[in-house]
Symmetry: C2
């Protein structure tokens, strides 16, 4: 397979963030080219772990940072270019498949910070490799820094009587324990070393009227050992070390979901750097297996890279977390966008058929019996009643009932459900599960129907919702949500309608990449069956 | 009346913000001791005008800032201590009644920035007074800076595909015009002078990877004349001026609701500093009149200051904007908190009986027929149906219907409605409107009843909702929302119950401040009538 599986940024002061996704299970992170970003458990709206300030200056802070300090000169910098900025002899960000690396050389000291989330664990590892390439002995201090978030992101952004009074921190046995009293939920930061200092309070570490660019604790070389019930909390564990010329060192910080006990367990597991190396290798195998399902070879190497690595990577991650966890939608929503999810799912029937089918069924449940989809919805609305609410709100929030969840035609986007038709067709072509069409699924507004009947309603809806020229109406929006046509017709939707009809009724694989000059290899072609 | 009607902060690096409220009608602002804060029109949730980054470092940025630059030395600073920080010969913040002043002396240049919102206008005036006390001629540049917000605050915080694509700016005739395409809404910044430069784009003014502490345009002494469809926008109008020794100058910036035409009108009106002076004097008269309604004299001058100025000021502002517009609740909610509004309204029947009655009626409508209040609610839910939605959302947001708005006993706070009993009693005692008890009002969950019947239901509810010891149950919370008792009894609520019973059934003014050593003066005592 292609080896172009890292996105490398050498010029770091780009005008907007380049982000990567970490985690392929319950714990997820979005991080940019300067280690800015946030961590969440299952839901970026209801269980945010690290804080992120949307639309800040400088952009996209804070993040998961490591600070270095030369103990002889007092000079300090961050391994990632932000938050300290400034010149480096070398700086490079490498976004890989579920990991990101920040490489920095300054004053003859080589540092590389690798962030990733091992499979089967709810912890983000911060792997630091240091090398003294300066030719003289060096005395150093290193600090981790991340700011903890209140779990409910709307409260974290807007309601400080809750967020500042219901959160607390303490330090025990080398581990930072962050607690949200209200939920009896904990997060931890542990380390592979015995910390030489710690801070649990953001304002103690940064100092008054300072920012992440110039923390007081880093400037003076020592933490204050702060912790408190209430306030703003952070994860700072300090390590002092000396490096002889040419000497290397490895340090690991572990930022995870759970309390002290979980912190101790995780620390035991990843104390040895070899364990982290194995976890990173395991992630590589996970992606290798997915990507190997379908590899295309075209005359254009850039096209190959997009087809064989990045498109699938992007889609797999989107299907997992939905596009609501990003730097564009900063995790303020729970659930699925109809259009987005249908589009993303369309691309993964060969690499993740189970997840593809799950999302298709959720979208079918989010379809009204009139044939339009709910533009934004939470699949939990249509699942079995939960024994307890998935997320406990510390304040009174009206719970919308189903009657108000099912929006009317006024809020329907003309294209949303049409994408699903092609998605289902792709899924059945890939898996051969012709019976899938006969499966019975509910409608969002009540009643049941087979999958085939659902799709027929979608196609009939578009056939009926046409304007004066026989072209599909734009309805609330026709794909470009921001346009909000508010009337008129959309040629784009009519084209999409025809395409969806063809996708469903085409009897063979039809014209596809195999018909061009390129070739496909992998399992996919063999498993394709005509409808 | 007392002259202690300014809260003066000399030591500026306080650990948390001290805020003031500007505006007594539709336009409101919350600003702190360093000019950080935000401006909104009617609703801080749905019509935010200037952006605010909650929980940032340094805290409570951005704001409504003025930068100064010595054109000879290139040195620059802000009139308010933040965002530039640094030492001053003199710095003082004065929070007055609906105005705030930031005084700064640096390098022999005296500057004072006054922020206020004239009555009858939807514009915030930024009045700058300069005096060259350095004994030598000075060449200066001055810049305004505020960052525009997307109107919908949840989108501004979380959904950048909307906020960055649906906002635009331009500059014409010396006025900055900020437009939200989606709503066809505009804001403007105009000035009393012909600008020597402008910037409408935040990132052009601040420069890449900089903050409000060190804008690139200020550093180099000139704006870039930026504007754009899309992006992040700001209000920067530059003025270059020379001051002879001892010379003074006055400059006014005007930040308001409306487009270019409104900007031109406002500029004409406030171009002459005397007009601003009159508007400020008018505000002083507005507050004088309110405060003069009731003035207490106790042996404790600090008590007098609280009773005669700050308690009423705080309450009047809270009744106007609700506590949801603050730095603790950063405007993420629309409507009223039941307890807060009842408490605040209790204190203003003498100074603002119309607003007091309006809030009481809204709270009565937010009462369920079971006798508990809706903890958080929007009075618009129970008013006449709006011809068009008050605020247009650019994305699909489920509209809760009444059935889901009326929360159950699980979300009822034991104390909420009890406060209202005393509030109504205070209102009737103050105004003598005994008929008010017979007025018919709806319940949140349907049905009608007189005001007296509403109050009776509140008292009966508490009499019935008692625990094993005959003490009132705590229910969801008993006043301290953050505790969320989740069972148990609350002596506090039983005390409150007894107090509410007494407040309603007491036949005369009863024991009050007049019974102590102090005296009351003003109109209030004359207008009191026994029930």
């Amino acid at each position: 397979m292609t080896k172009n599986d890292e996105y490398v940024i050498d010029r770091v002061d780009v005008p907007v963030s380049w982000t990567n996704y970490l985690g392929v299970e319950d714990l997820g992170a979005v991080v940019n080219h300067t280690a800015g970003g946030y961590l969440f458990y299952k839901s970026p709206e209801h269980h945010r772990i690290t804080r992120f300030r949307p639309n800040g200056v400088p952009m996209d802070r804070p993040g998961h940072y490591l600070y270095l300090r030369d103990e002889e000169t007092g000079e300090s910098w961050s391994v990632s270019w932000q938050p300290c900025g400034g010149p480096r002899e070398h700086y490079r960000c490498r976004h890989g498949l579920s990991y990101s690396v920040y490489e920095c050389t300054r004053n003859g000291l080589k540092a590389a910070q690798t962030l990733f989330i091992p499979r089967g664990e709810n912890v983000e590892l911060w792997e630091l490799r240091l090398e003294n390439a300066s030719g003289r002995p060096r005395a150093l201090s290193v600090w981790s820094y991340a700011e903890f978030s209140y779990h409910q992101i709307s409260i974290d952004n807007q309601n400080f009587q809750m967020s500042l009074y219901c959160a607390g921190s303490r330090y025990e046995d080398g581990i930072i324990d962050y607690e949200l009293f209200y939920e009896r939920a904990h997060q931890f930061m542990a380390a592979s070393f015995t910390p030489g200092g710690f801070d649990c309070l953001r304002d103690s570490f940064l100092g008054p009227y300072r920012t992440e660019s110039n923390p007081l604790a880093v400037e003076r070389g020592k933490c204050s050992g702060s912790f408190e019930k209430g306030g703003n909390h952070c994860a700072v564990l300090q390590k002092k070390l000396a490096l002889a010329p040419g000497e290397t060192a490895r340090l690991t910080w572990m930022l995870g979901e759970g309390g002290l006990e979980e912190g101790r367990r995780v620390r035991e597991r990843y104390r040895d750097p070899a364990a982290a190396d194995r976890a990173l290798e395991d992630l590589a195998q996970y992606w290798d297996e997915k990507l190997s399902k379908l590899q295309a070879s075209t005359p254009d190497p850039d096209m190959n890279t997009m087809l064989n690595v990045w498109n699938l990577y992007q889609s797999e991650v989107n299907v997992l977390f939905s596009r609501f966890a990003s730097f564009i939608e900063v995790g303020g929503r729970t659930g699925l966008g109809y259009r987005d999810t249908a589009q993303d799912s369309m691309t993964i029937p060969h690499s993740n058929p189970d997840k593809c089918r799950e999302r298709i069924l959720q979208l079918l449940q989010g379809l009204t019996s009139s044939g339009y989809g709910l533009h934004l919805f939470d699949p939990a609305w249509f699942g079995p009643p939960a024994e307890k609410p998935a997320f406990k709100s510390p304040t009174v929030i009206p719970t919308p009932d189903k009657a108000s969840i099912v929006h009317g035609l006024d809020d329907a986007c003309a294209d949303d459900a049409l994408w699903l038709v092609a998605t289902v067709a792709e899924y059945v072509r890939e898996t051969g599960e012709l019976d899938f069409f006969h499966r019975t699924v509910g409608y969002a507004d009540g009643g049941m129907g087979t999958v085939y009947e659902h799709l027929k309603k979608i196609l009939d809806f578009s056939a009926e919702q046409v304007g004066a020229h026989g072209i599909c109406k734009g309805l609330r929006a026709d794909w470009n949500d921001c346009l909000n046509l508010g009337g008129g017709e959309s040629a784009m939707v009519s084209f999409l309608h025809v395409w969806a009809l063809g996708a469903l009724h085409r009897r063979g694989p039809g014209p596809g990449p195999g018909g061009g000059r390129g070739t496909l290899r992998g399992h996919a072609p063999e498993r394709r069956r005509p409808l």
